[in-house]
């Protein structure tokens, strides 16, 4: 199938294209130089053309997401998806799988990265991926509280740690090293938490700092496409911004050495909003969003996503077990808690970010403080779906960023006065251009994930994942912006037209992308000896039944990494 997208205004930051009227040709799933005369024409007159949206941090599949669904029938009732020819679904903050795929597609997104996959339960994540249409997918296994990692790093055995990381990525078909509250979730297994980067984990006697440094080092030894992906210690605690900067700082001397892709950073701080809190309690709680944004601006090794609070009723879910317990004790709502053997844990709690709530309003302001003070090459739009709000609110976040007038309407008429007093949103006149929006919703994701050769741009040879929005680039009406980005005019996925006028018209199934990294055989053998003992002694499953087998995807796409130089 061949397409030509005619007369659109193209925004393609990775190729430096900022609002040029040009045609885009598509053939056999790729963007090409030219097409034959027997071609389907898509009229993009008065439309903005961008690469397909990419989400580098979202919780859409796996055990914790499904606990969210089961825990909250009342969330399912709130939002029903029922369109002819498509699978039905439900759920506002934790939608079912098909609904998730369709709604991302309606918004022009073509790739999602599930941000927290418990290795032992990887199958569940991949099973749900099979039922999540319209998107390419990847998932990040959790490493920051894993017994093997903690022990190898404590012993200073980076080679064995690297071999283990390579093995686990292959076994779980994972994409990158995810670290959640390093050491804190293991401490939660002892009924505790860690505070700051230098508080040792019970029994293992290792600190968050050592875990971050160690895994960052291992990441670059292996040469993985993505950097370590970090949810640092002390999430959501007033005064945590210092921990956040200390965490960023401890890997600053490590050099990025990806063997695939074009990443230049070594540290990805997810949902920075939750980690930019000043003060000592909720009473003197203030925004440190400008401070954290400035650190990011000054340091080349850091990339962040924001985790913007959207002021909705949502569901929080994270591998940060002790944090979810704190949340449950604060809001008194129902709570689910889970321990995953030697690897990780998780918690789930419903949460109502009422615009009238003083603290929630400041959280909203902090996210915007970050967005409005940061270099747009270093920031990614996220809501940490569904933690700070559901992904279907991305268009609203875009509208807040593009229109000062719309932002002020919320500030003056909807949110609590604390947003003005304890954050700096009111004083900021900055407005994102459509080019900035293209960076923070696709280009930056592609680059930091190491997928910018094939995704996140519209150059010849790229995957033909394309979103077309009917919007004037100078639009300032928040509602118009929101609607335009919520329902794309056209979306192409892998060269096929999948969305027309905001409706999914074709169901397609993307690839599941994972890392197949090879280390030296002798090293691998040594690792397996160690692992077999560990599995026999501690795991509830046999090691041979642990790896995810071939039939757990619609189609796999392996990124092969040769790390046999690690001996």
């Amino acid at each position: 199938m061949e397409y030509i997208i005619k007369n659109g205004i193209v925004y393609d930051p990775l190729n430096g294209v900022d609002g040029e009227k040009m045609d885009i040709c598509v053939k056999d799933g790729k963007i090409v130089e030219s097409v034959s005369s027997d071609v389907l024409e898509i009229d993009a007159n008065n439309c903005v053309v961008m690469p397909g949206g990419m989400d580098s941090h979202t919780h859409v599949a796996g055990p914790k997401v499904n606990v969210g669904r089961t825990l909250r029938p009342e969330d399912s009732k709130k939002d029903i998806f029922n369109k002819k020819g498509l699978r039905s679904g439900s759920g506002f903050s934790v939608p079912s799988t098909f609904k998730t795929g369709y709604e991302y597609s309606e918004m022009g997104y073509t790739f999602v990265n599930e941000a927290a996959m418990p290795p032992l339960l990887a199958r569940h994540t991949h099973e749900e991926f099979i039922d999540t249409p319209q998107l390419d997918k990847a998932a990040m296994p959790l490493f920051g509280n894993n017994w093997m990692v903690l022990e190898y790093l404590k012993e200073g055995d980076f080679k064995m740690c690297a071999a283990y990381v390579a093995w686990l990525l292959r076994a779980t078909r994972g994409y990158a090293i995810k670290i959640v509250n390093p050491g804190g979730t293991e401490a939660w297994g002892w009924g505790k938490n860690v505070h700051g980067v230098d508080d040792p984990v019970p029994y293992f006697d290792i600190t968050g700092r050592e875990i971050l440094e160690g895994l960052a080092k291992v990441n670059e030894m292996l040469g993985l496409p993505h950097s370590i992906h970090v949810h640092p210690n002390d999430l959501g605690h007033p005064g945590n911004w210092e921990t956040t900067l200390a965490s960023m700082d401890c890997v600053k001397d490590i050099e990025a050495k990806p063997k695939y892709g074009e990443r230049t950073t070594t540290y990805y701080n997810t949902h920075l909003q939750f980690h930019s809190y000043g003060g000592t309690s909720w009473k003197d709680f203030v925004s440190k969003g400008i401070e954290t944004a400035e650190y990011v601006n000054k340091h080349d090794h850091v990339m962040v996503d924001v985790g913007q609070v959207t002021l909705d009723e949502t569901t929080t879910m994270t591998a940060d077990g002790p944090m979810e317990y704190d949340l449950h004790m604060t809001n008194g709502l129902k709570w689910a808690n889970c321990d995953v053997e030697l690897e990780t844990g998780s918690g789930v709690v419903p949460f109502i970010y009422s615009p009238k709530g003083p603290v929630y309003s400041v959280q909203w302001g902090i996210g915007l403080d970050i967005f409005l003070n940061i270099n747009t090459d270093k920031v990614i739009l996220s809501t940490d779906h569904p933690n700070a709000g559901p992904f279907t609110r991305y268009p609203r976040v875009i509208a807040w960023l593009m229109s000062k007038q719309y932002r002020d309407d919320w500030l003056n008429n909807k949110v609590h006065a604390w947003a003005k007093q304890k954050s700096f949103v009111a004083d900021n006149d900055r407005e994102y251009s459509i080019y900035d929006i293209a960076k923070v919703t696709r280009a930056n994701q592609a680059k930091v994930l190491g997928l910018s050769k094939e995704k996140g741009h519209l150059g010849v040879g790229a995957d033909a994942d394309i979103a077309i929005y009917e919007i004037d680039p100078e639009e300032k009406d928040g509602k118009v912006i929101e609607k335009a980005f919520r329902y794309a005019k056209y979306v192409l996925k892998g060269g096929e037209l999948v969305v027309k006028a905001g409706n999914v018209v074709k169901e397609v199934y993307g690839n599941t992308i994972y890392i197949n990294a090879k280390v030296d055989e002798a090293l691998e053998e040594e690792l397996m000896k160690d692992l077999r003992t560990k599995f026999k002694k501690y795991y509830s499953v046999n090691i041979d039944n642990y790896p995810v087998s071939d039939h757990y995807a619609n189609s796999w796409k392996a990124i092969n990494i040769d790390a046999t130089d690690i001996k």
């Binding site: 825990l71 909250r72 029938p73 009342e74 969330d75 009732k77 709502l333 129902k334």
Partner: protein, 271 residues
């Protein structure tokens, strides 16, 4: 206008009736009413296929369902005004989320009667099953107004997460009436199977019959005679007649304000 629907014959697969509210059918012709499609399992059935339809003049919007059975679900869901009379039994979810008006069931009701009710009156002349006046499954924001009266017996966990309004049960209840209750008043004339007011935070429960297996996490406050139940300081209060053991609870919660009144006469072994 008064709409009279007479069920033609017994049905196997339940039908959802929420499209037929008195307020919604006022401006429709008999033919239009007959052609309304109601969900039945995975398919639909028209009102005309299912019922004999009769339309009469009436001052107030009224709906009468004759030969009704427990297979007719969601009768009066979200109604705001008018009156529904059910001759026979009502299926699950009768009067769910109703805001106003009146529903009378001259028979029994299945589970979830008056779930998340906001206002109006729901009267059940027979028995009702579980979750009378409860919250939607999973929700912690339950019934917020209105009155439910059941003349017979009811099942378990009635008034779950109730916030406001009144539930009056003239018969007996199953276990845990007023579980997680955070407001409103539940009056039970008969006996309670067990554990009234489990995890309640606010509101009041009155047990005029026997309370079997009371919870240990309630605190005895003394014996009161003809008390006036006040839920807030400004509240005029609801007087009840008799001698009661008064308890506060449930102390599994922090600083609970729930009130539990248990008949002295019918609970000689209590204390």
């Amino acid at each position: 206008m008064e709409l009279i629907l007479t069920l033609k014959k017994e049905i196997m697969v339940p039908v959802e009736m929420d499209k037929i509210l008195p307020e919604k059918v006022q401006d429709l012709s008999e033919e239009e009413i007959k052609s309304i499609e109601l969900p039945q399992g995975r398919t639909t059935i028209t009102v005309g296929e299912l019922f004999d339809v009769e339309v009469k003049e009436s001052e107030t919007p009224r709906l009468v369902i004759k030969n009704s059975t427990a297979k007719l679900k969601r009768i009066g869901e979200k109604m705001t005004t008018g009156e529904i009379v059910v001759e026979g039994d009502a299926g699950m979810y009768v009067g769910v989320e109703m805001k106003g008006g009146k529903i009378v069931v001259n028979g029994n009701a299945d589970s979830w009667a008056g779930q998340n009710m906001k206002g109006g009156e729901l009267i059940i002349k027979g028995d009702a099953k579980d979750y009378v006046g409860s919250a939607y499954r999973g929700d912690w924001r339950g019934m917020s107004g209105g009155t439910i009266v059941v003349e017979g017996n009811v099942g378990n966990e009635i008034g779950e997460y109730m916030k406001k309004g009144i539930i009056h049960i003239k018969g007996n209840t199953g276990i845990m009436p007023g579980i997680h209750q955070s407001g409103g008043i539940i009056i039970i004339d008969g006996d309670v199977e067990a554990r009234a007011g489990g995890e309640m935070l606010k509101g009041a429960i009155v047990v005029n019959g026997k309370l079997k297996e009371p919870l240990a996490s309630f605190k005895f406050e003394g014996i009161v005679e003809n008390p006036v139940i006040k839920l807030t300081k400004k509240d005029n209060g609801m007087p009840i007649t008799g001698r009661y053991y008064k308890f506060s609870g449930d102390y599994v919660n922090n600083k609970p304000k729930g009130q539990l009144y248990v008949s002295v006469e019918n609970n000689p072994d209590l204390r």
